[in-house]
Symmetry: C2
Subunit: 404 residues, 2 copies
């Protein structure tokens, strides 16, 4: 039987159900909603075997049948995946929990989970022969897309808020991208990318303006399931800015259930974590709304997830409601305290966003929303060393001969 490299079928709108051709570049739905990717699940159910996947080389491309890139030759790869899934024993004890784990997506090329989305997104642009792309990004995504762009010879134009972390700006500039710092926050960066796309004809690859970043981010969920021997955990907690990784996670779970690779009886509760400085999803969740209201973007150490408005808000909220999950906002103080403790106890210098997730889980455990015996997986989306400035403290300097 003929086996395709990808079982990509078409794109569809999760709001109005319109369908789109996946053989040409697409952006959003006419109705303004993000597009999602559909696969030929009937064929996959017969031809895609998890036993085959598990002996392939360790990268996200071991799941190629369930990814949208049509042929192997178009793949633009820096060797992304499989990231560690680590027990967090000391933290679990501190939270009075039996089984707490970390999926450490900082251990990826360019040091962030954005490598997953960039690898798949840029590979598709490469397949479509797109010469120039523009995107607005809070930080890591800009650097990741620019680096994968360089590898593929796609010319990258990146709009990043001027407050984005210095190391990430340098990383993005090092790629040779046309980087523009924007005197403003994400919304202003998106407007600049919009205008530049219109003016110069550059493909707009900003969040939710192309459908394949979500497919890349989905692989966190696929790996997670494989690493747990296809037994999904009780709770998965994830930082949420625009929400692409959250939506990817939910999509991964659904596809795994449809394939019959995991048991459908137990769908993990998905927890979205934001910071109090900018928490539109949490606000909407508390009101039981299906959409968010635009929220001002204030400074947070977790700069990456300070996103006041998202075209995918309804998908994030739907995933929370459908999985009986939750949304929780943490304060700066708790976030920074957890970052310090996790580094000291577990040896993992997580991103502020990753630390926010632990602060959120701690909060839900204290409220007994998370039970002691629940198996919980937290997702860290970047290496802390990419944003070292938020770590305080001075270090003594010894002169030769001084006593230690």
């Amino acid at each position: 039987m003929y086996q395709a490299y990808s079982y990509l079928s078409h794109l569809y709108c999760p709001r109005c159900s319109r369908e789109y051709d996946a053989s040409v570049p697409q952006h959003k739905c006419l109705c303004g909603a993000p597009l999602l990717t559909a696969y030929d699940m009937d064929a996959l159910k017969i031809q895609f075997r998890k036993e085959a996947v598990m002996v392939r080389p360790p990268s996200i491309w071991r799941y190629h049948e369930l990814l949208p890139v049509r042929t192997e030759k178009d793949i633009v790869s820096l060797g992304e995946g499989i990231t560690p899934l680590l027990p967090m024993k000391k933290t679990a004890a501190r939270y009075n929990m039996d089984d707490l784990r970390l999926k450490d997506d900082g251990v990826l090329p360019a040091g962030s989970a954005e490598a997953r989305g960039a690898a798949v997104g840029i590979s598709k642009l490469n397949e479509y022969n797109v010469p120039d792309m523009v995107l607005a990004a809070n930080g890591h995504a800009g650097a990741a897309w620019a680096l994968y762009g360089s590898r593929s010879s796609i010319c990258s134009h990146v709009a990043m808020p001027v407050e984005a972390p210095l190391a990430v700006r340098k990383e993005c500039a090092a790629s040779g991208a046309d980087l523009q710092l924007i005197n403003g926050f994400m919304q202003e960066a998106e407007e600049a990318a919009d205008r530049a796309s219109e003016r110069h004809g550059w493909f707009d690859a900003s969040t939710f303006k192309e459908p394949y970043r979500i497919e890349g981010e989905k692989t966190t969920g696929l790996e997670l399931a494989e690493q747990l021997q296809w037994n999904l955990p009780d709770v998965i907690a994830c930082p949420v800015g625009a929400g692409t990784s959250f939506i990817g996670l939910y999509k991964a779970i659904h596809e795994l259930i449809e394939l019959g690779w995991v048991r459908s009886a137990k769908i993990p509760k998905l927890v979205a974590v934001q910071t109090e400085s900018c928490a539109p999803i949490v606000h909407a969740f508390e009101k039981k709304w299906t959409h968010t209201v635009e929220t001002p973007e204030l400074y947070s150490a977790a700069f990456e997830i300070s996103t006041g408005t998202s075209a995918g808000d309804f998908l994030v909220l739907d995933a929370i409601y459908k999985t009986k999950g939750a949304a929780v906002a943490v304060c700066e103080e708790d976030l920074l305290a957890e970052q310090r403790l996790i580094t000291r106890e577990e040896g993992i210098f997580s991103s502020p966003e990753g630390a926010a997730v632990f602060a959120g889980v701690r909060q839900l455990r204290e409220e007994n929303w998370i039970q002691r015996e629940d198996r919980v997986v937290c997702i860290n989306t970047a290496m802390g060393v990419k944003t070292p400035d938020i770590m305080e403290g001075s270090t003594p300097i010894l002169a030769p001969g001084d006593d230690w």
Copy 2:
């Protein structure tokens, strides 16, 4: 037949052949040389099968039989390995080469190859129940050992030159380690660690003062061979400071040959790359010496490999001579130019040390020491984003409404 988790046999001195018991902590040989680790190769030849290794989870511990940790429960892991092996097509074309690849050891926990040595070294200290360890480090090693120390509950004391990169100092401090900056270079840091070890009874885990870091670093070579379907390349080029990774690489090749997993007919030429500012190995190689002379440690962008003296110098030189390899020094200008080009062409923001390796390979290719048809693997030992300061350039700032 009984299968051991580790086939560790004993420790031995590569200079005077004295043997040491590996069941208790050891430092150097009485003669002052570093100790190397021996395994029961006769048993391994019968019981250790590469086919079994290849289906294990992707981490350095898939090679546990050939690593020194006696039982799985003592392993301290942040999920280290398997790192990407990437084709470098544009760079190969620029160098007029057919097959150039990068082993990207930046994609590891803590963003550097030092995770390999720290994982194995700290796991052994954990096995020995050592409560406190001290080490001198130029940067990445200090951060990696401190982070693995935190995870295992070993108390870490780190002496680092005051000029070490800021992000790495912050990373080390974040682990909760007792970090002391030393007003001087590596030699002064080593002296401080020495004195503190004597004074406080802390285990000295500085370079070559304990034998297992090399075993961890060896796994780069094991992975490399596996990723090339057990066909070793013609040349492997590696940055050399003290030389632990270089010695590990050579040891890996020898053990693979002894196991019969690779063909012995073709031993890769090992190339040591240093910077002109501090190149004792290159100097000794040019004079055909078996030892180096102490060399002043001057500032280089490749701070990690600015090491004026090394107790392992004779092992590095021996590996070069035995493999018909070479040692090459690169100037700052070439190193920085290659870092920029590799990031722009290949999307890999390498460490300055990794960039030095490419500059070295380029030099050897221009001299036709490397042939066009040679398969060459370069090793990058850290993520460039951990030392972003050496990247220059300013970025334009757009105000809302400005034209891009």
